[in-house]
């Protein structure tokens, strides 16, 4: 497989810097009620690093991911890939949502091709479609329609569709959140395998502590109202990780305690 030997170039270029980013959502019908989704958030992610954004609903982790994807613009602050500011969506930054969001009118194969068609390079890169289908274990399902797929299968298609553009940054917004526990664990291994193979900078939004520990180099714990970074926890456990290793469980306990503490003392949250 040609694509797998191809080293991910531009290591420097795929590092991500988030500087003092603020984002406020104003309700359309009532300008008085605005939500501070993110308040002065700063974060550096190194090239090839796997970072999880962990926190309760409403802590702005999905908002932050949309800013990195370029789908929304921050009110203040800036986001840089390498030294280049993010001004809009780009095929360089692949995005996978919790809902696979496959185009229901396209077959699996055509969904995976979408990125090539959109960039007008289908003709020269057509051969990669089969390779990516194989990469995520979709052999033989090319002609199936999305409504015929199970949740895990659909999410594999979404992954392949994002990866076919060879993004240097992969953004995932609770991609495994809707899957059952067993499929979910299997898919975690799949994602890790793809990350190891392709070495892209990866940001995973999750509210599953085990998932964050199992997968990431660092866990960014966020808190809500206003959304901000509470703590950054490096995960130094050796890969491949064991879900039942004492160190794993110890770290899990610490994070739980930390979140619990954060939840019980709201006085500390708002200065």
């Amino acid at each position: 497989m040609v694509i797998l030997d191809e080293p991910t170039t531009a290591h420097e270029a795929s590092s991500l810097r988030i500087r003092e980013v603020t984002k406020t959502f104003v309700a359309a019908e009532n300008t008085a009620t605005s939500t501070r989704a993110l308040s002065r958030v700063s974060l550096n992610v190194e090239a090839g690093e796997f970072v999880s954004l962990l926190g309760p609903s409403g802590c702005g982790k999905s908002t932050l991911l949309r800013l990195v994807a370029g789908l929304d613009r921050p009110d203040t602050g800036e986001l840089l890939i390498g030294n280049v500011p993010i001004t809009g969506p780009s095929a360089e930054r692949g995005l996978v949502f919790q809902d696979p969001n496959l185009f229901p009118w396209l077959t699996v194969k055509r969904n995976i091709q979408a990125g090539l068609v959109a960039r007008g390079v289908l003709h020269e890169k057509r051969h990669e479609v089969a390779e990516f289908m194989q990469l995520v274990g979709l052999d033989g399902f090319g002609d199936a329609y999305p409504h015929q797929l199970s949740g895990g299968m659909a999410q594999r298609v979404a992954l392949a569709r994002a990866l076919i553009n060879h993004p240097t940054v992969l953004l995932m917004d609770e991609p495994l959140g809707a899957l059952d526990a067993f499929t979910r664990m299997r898919m975690q291994d799949e994602v890790l395998r793809l990350w190891t193979l392709r070495g892209m900078t990866t940001i995973l939004v999750t509210h599953d502590i085990d998932e964050a520990i199992y997968m990431s180099d660092r866990i960014v714990v966020m808190t809500a109202r206003p959304g901000r970074i509470d703590e950054i926890i490096p995960v130094t456990l050796e890969r491949p990780r064991q879900r039942n290793h004492p160190d794993f469980l110890k770290l899990r306990g610490e994070i739980l305690e930390h979140l619990h503490f954060a939840g019980q003392a709201p006085a500390e949250e708002s200065p």
């Binding site: 949502f97 185009f103 990125g115 409504h147 015929q148």
Partner: protein, 335 residues
């Protein structure tokens, strides 16, 4: 990984279980029995009908009898035909019984006033007698309908996509659409007759107008309601505006667009018949008015019969097109 997916190629359709032999025979004899009854009734009322009508209707019944026997034989070796017959035969038999009842209350008991309620035999005779003019009228109607419908749909898709996608087009277009759209196309007939160079052009214009409104409205609603996340995904895949419109918004709007196409087809039939009755001097609508003018109600019913077949065939074709185009929706929406 195979177990994660439902078999993609196996589409489960409820197939009628093979009928028990007794039931099959009982179903198969319904049609010959109904035809035989129709023949007896026709023989009894023959003196009240013209010789030509008796001859034509009699031939039809003999043909039906022969066909029912032939098919009953053929189904022994052809399972598809058997399934179709088991499904359709009761309906066919009921239709023949209805014709027979109609014969007895018109030619038989003469309960209904003539010439408004002719018997099936004389309707059929009118149909055969006037076949050339009827064929010509149907052809003209088809041309007019096709011209008007396609013109209307093409314009509607363009305006619908523009108004649905571009905010300025929406701002300026919606008031016009809301104001002029609900006017029935037939209300424009006085103007159309004055403005257009020929009856054909005014007919096509009126039909196009009647199709334009529903198709435009539903295209707008389909485009405007495209799931934002599909557009987000496409943009992160590197899609430009053309891809977003033609490969995301329009396919996503297709189910809604098809509802508009069906509504537009219904209004186009109406407009066609009215336009032909009032202005255009050809077509089934014109024939209908002409036959009525001569009090030839047999021909009126003949034209109605042709219309029923003509319009329902076109409707069926549109359904087939929809099933083809929206095949990906299988199991998502049923209507």
């Amino acid at each position: 990984m195979t177990q994660l997916v439902h078999e993609p190629n196996r589409i489960v359709t409820p197939v009628a279980a093979p009928a028990a032999p007794g039931l099959l025979i009982r179903t198969l004899v319904t049609v010959p029995l109904a035809v035989a009854a129709a023949m007896v009734v026709q023989r009894m009322v023959a003196r009240n009908e013209s010789a030509a009508a008796n001859h034509v209707y009699g031939s039809l019944l003999w043909g039906a009898l022969a066909a029912s026997f032939a098919l009953s034989l053929l189904q022994r070796w052809w399972a598809g035909l058997r399934r179709w017959m088991v499904g359709m035969w009761p309906i066919v038999a009921a239709a023949i019984v209805t014709l027979t009842v109609w014969t007895s209350i018109t030619s038989g008991f003469r309960w209904l006033p003539l010439p408004y309620f002719p018997s099936p035999a004389s309707v059929l005779q009118s149909l055969v007698e006037d076949r050339e003019l009827l064929f010509d009228s149907t052809w003209h109607s088809l041309l007019l309908l096709f011209g008007g419908y396609t013109t209307g749909v093409v314009i509607a898709l363009v305006t619908g996509v523009c108004i649905g996608w571009f905010a300025p087009a929406r701002y300026w277009g919606m008031p016009i659409l809301k104001l002029l759209g609900p006017i029935p196309a037939t209300a424009w007939i006085p103007l159309a007759m004055v403005l257009s160079p020929s009856q054909l052009v005014s007919g096509i214009g009126l039909i196009a107008l009647s199709v334009w409104f529903p198709v435009t409205m539903l295209t707008i609603s389909g485009i405007a309601n495209t799931r934002a996340s599909y557009l987000d995904v496409a943009r992160t895949l590197g899609a430009g505006r053309a891809y977003l419109i033609f490969r995301v918004a329009i396919p996503a709007a297709l189910p809604s667009i098809f509802i508009g196409l069906f509504m537009g087809l219904g209004t186009s039939f109406l407009t066609l018949v009215v336009a032909e009755t009032v202005g255009v001097k050809s077509g089934l609508g014109w024939y209908l008015g002409w036959a009525q003018g001569w009090a030839e109600y047999g021909k009126v019913y003949a034209a109605l019969l042709i219309m029923a077949g003509f319009f329902s065939t076109i409707m069926t074709i549109l359904f087939k097109v929809r099933d083809r185009v929206l095949g990906w929706q299988k199991g998502v929406i049923k209507w």
